[in-house]
Amino acid sequence: MAKHRGRGVATINYPIGMNLGGDPSQALVHSNPSGKFTVALSSIDLGQGMKSVTRQICAETLGVPVEDVYVDTADSDTGPHCMGSFASRGTHRVGNAVMTAAREARAVMMEAAAEELEVDPGDLETDGKGSIRVKGAPHRSISVRDVAIAAQFRQGKTISGRGIFLVPLSDVDPETGEMSPATCYAHACLIAEVEVDDETGDVTVLKMTSAYEIGRAINPKLVEQQLVGGSWMGMSHALYETPEPYYPDTRDGPRDFNEYLMPGPGDICPHDILVLERPAPDGPFGAKGPGEMCANPVLPAVANAVFNAVGVRINDLPITPEKVLRALKARGGASTHGRAR
């Protein structure tokens, strides 16, 4: 009886947004007379950081500090239509809508600034710190606040913008499955290292190493939150969770967290994550969406690592100690025959 170590790998990609196009989201952006901007959305922040991602996209596009933008979500009377927060669509779809709306608002803001400075709008640039200045002559500048006051009380302009993002719709061919399911894909490779106890059947994940290509990390901390949380969920799917432990038999379903198995803090393992950015041509600043895909590679990587450790293939999830022990028994014990590394 012994503990055996093994490593397994998986490589995956993931489509961004709802399948087959359409999938619209709208955004409205406007300034108050102090030059502070509000983004109105009906999108949902599930904890993934929708408000923060769209806030940074709006600030970058407007050319104002992020503190001067506030994102208001999910009121059907004030927020324009959004399909919802799912399908890894938030950053890409809503981000694009916000970018479009912010561009329109920025154009008005620059026109109003040009009128105040008596120059051509094309000669102006934002400094990202709350001012608009003449290119090459930074001493000739005006604050966004003064521009907003002038637009509201003197010029009669609305510094506001509307944005919608809609992917061209596509059909599925019923005979061949020909279709245009998505416009961009995120990518990942994950290596899991496990230890398998051939006496108890317990599988412990010791370490994960991964690389995720996500187009552009709008906010690296939010990306980290998704990738770390997602790998925990993937590990939980691989080894612990199901409301039907003997599927398709429906018996012994859990009713609460005492009965529903999930890994606890002590089961979390170190995870080295590398982030690559190959911008999506149609993503906001190239961004795709890391939300869903980060759970996916963990399941097969763990299963492959179990094989590498003890030589048994578990094809049915979750990989419980019971399944490992039964497979080891059928095999006549652990083997490292499959170990290639």
Partner: protein, 534 residues
């Protein structure tokens, strides 16, 4: 630990940005860490009433009679909500985008098709009073045979689960019981393959396990409208679904949500809003309907189970020449969103690899269990599990390193995918290379030099014909070295791409013109509510 590899694809990026790429603190973090962010259930109302639901104890039964007379007289009970009270009782979620037929009642009246199916609701002055009244309802059932296994459900003589789809499968394009994928000639390629590997994979259902269970509160407004505080993941999806079921105009509803205690796909189904709105309208008072943890775990839709058969043909040099997939999505008793996941799954086959011959049949199957729904990675997670376990077995079968084997077969810019679109913006090879380097997983030089941006092209799939005769990758002779690739990531010109064979046929036959005009199994997911877009 998270670190960036900015050196890779640097030539495709503008990194001169101010706010993008900053680890800016979340706008809502103070509320979250101080416990003051308002979730739907943080809104307080005087005289709030509580809706609780009577659920079927049987997986499949005919309802002979319901006697709720004692419940109606129980202390605190304000109103009993029955199937006959629901203006549009039969609905399917994706009817909002014209996909599928209405197949699921808000409240069952004649049959129950899964254990936990809602039968009636009781609105009372407290949750306790509602639960005690529920215990007084007497329902007389005729139990019926039930089916729980997806393949059993497809056999002749299996119990019919869903009255709208009596054959236990969702109907695609008005004529098929599954979604097809056809690319190249898979059977011919199996005959020419050196090795064929076949296996069966099973994903069990998964509970979303959000911290906040599903719920909503409906409050009559002063102007005839209703304000609805909700945990939904999709505000307008839930609003339009609720308007349809209640047969009211969408502008009679004012939905407020936006901060949700975890969703993961389990809060799209609009499980509580339609009935809580109905109750508030019937009574004229604020009503709350929230799932208990038990309801969330057993009767809130889970990630559905999937059974996936994969058969692959490979050559001794490691090239995959054929992949055939047959998969069954367990939708439970009703459709909800599983029909959509099937199409997404088919689009994902054969995974991020360039394979010249691909064939798939994927079924959305009805069984007598809690209806399944979306969850993180919908339509893809279980398939990735099956395909990536299969990739490992293939690597063992040809004696290759599993990572090198994946890099060899990885899709590249310009390759033709099985759904007949050109691969672009690929980065799988680069992910594999840097992960291998970080994990000290040795891969040979030529695999370290490969690139998603070089060596791809439609000829790699013979333009849809097979490439079983393609010359192998240049023989691996270079010993592993430890040259780090930290910088620039420029590679020598592609030495490694397998030279392309002359395609056997110039191009795949053009696909038949997409069907149009079918009412159900719409060929597209038009996201514009109420209109079919062409």
């Amino acid at each position: 630990m998270l670190e960036f590899r900015k050196d890779i694809f640097a030539d495709e990026r503008d990194d001169n940005l101010i706010e993008i790429g900053q680890p800016t603190q979340r706008q809502d973090i103070l509320g979250h860490v101080t416990g003051t962010s308002p979730y739907y259930d943080d809104h307080r109302f005087a005289n709030l009433l509580h809706l609780k639901i009577l659920r079927s104890p049987h997986a499949h039964a005919r309802i002979r009679s319901i006697d709720d007379s004692a419940a109606a007289r129980a202390p605190g009970v304000k109103r009993i909500i029955r199937a006959a009270d629901v203006p549009v009782n039969l609905n399917t979620l994706l009817s909002l985008i014209q996909f599928g037929k209405d197949d699921e009642p808000s409240l069952a009246s004649d049959f129950v098709r899964y254990k936990g199916e809602p039968i009636l609701g009781i609105v009372a002055s407290s949750e306790r009073a509602a639960l005690e009244a529920l215990a007084l309802v007497r329902v007389d059932y005729d139990q019926l045979p039930a089916v729980f296994d997806v393949e059993e459900a497809l056999k002749p003589g299996a119990p019919s689960v869903n009255a709208t789809y009596p054959k236990n499968t969702f109907e695609y394009y008005g004529k098929y019981d599954h979604q097809k994928l056809r690319f190249g000639e898979v059977e011919a390629a199996f005959k020419e393959a050196d090795i064929v590997v076949e296996d069966r994979y099973q994903m069990s259902p998964i509970e979303h396990a959000p911290t906040e269970t599903n719920g909503s509160i409906a409050v009559p407004d002063t102007n005839g409208r209703l304000i609805v505080y909700t945990s939904t993941q999709a505000l307008f999806f839930s609003l339009d679904t609720s308007a349809k079921i209640n047969a009211i105009q969408s502008n009679q509803l004012h939905f407020i949500g936006g901060t949700v205690g975890g969703g993961f796909g389990g809060k799209v189904d609009t499980l509580t809003e339609p009935l809580v709105i109905l109750a508030a309208r019937l009574i004229g008072a604020p009503v709350r309907y929230r799932f208990s943890r038990h309801e969330e775990m057993q009767y809130g839709s889970p990630r559905g189970a999937e059974r996936i058969y994969v058969k692959d043909g490979i050559m001794k040099d490691g090239r995959i020449v054929a992949r055939k997939v047959r998969a069954y999505f367990d939708s439970g008793a009703y459709t909800r969103l599983s029909s959509y996941a099937v199409v997404k799954c088919v689009a994902h086959i054969p995974g991020p690899y360039t394979i010249p011959n691909v064939h798939a049949d994927v079924y959305c199957v009805f069984t007598n269990r809690t209806p399944a729904t979306a969850m993180r990675g919908f339509g893809v997670t279980a398939l990735d599990f099956a395909l990536e376990c299969q990739m490992d077995k293939l690597a063992v079968a040809v004696g290759m390193d599993p990572l090198e084997f994946r890099i060899l077969n990885s899709y590249r810019d310009g390759d033709m995918k099985a759904h007949r679109r050109e691969a672009k913006n690929c980065a799988l090879i680069e992910c594999a290379q840097v992960a291998a380097e970080k994990a000290n997983w040795p891969i040979r030089d030529e695999f370290r030099r490969m690139s998603s941006r070089q060596g791809g092209g439609p000829a790699r799939t013979g333009g849809g014909a097979d490439r079983t005769r393609a010359p192998a990758i240049a023989p691996a002779v270079a010993p592993p070295t430890a040259v780090p690739q930290r910088v620039a990531y420029e590679r020598p010109a592609a030495a490694a791409a397998p030279p392309s064979p002359p395609p056997r046929s110039a191009s795949p036959p053009p696909p038949a013109a997409p069907s149009s005009g079918s009412t159900h199994g719409a060929p597209r997911f038009s996201s514009v509510f109420g209109t079919r877009r062409r």
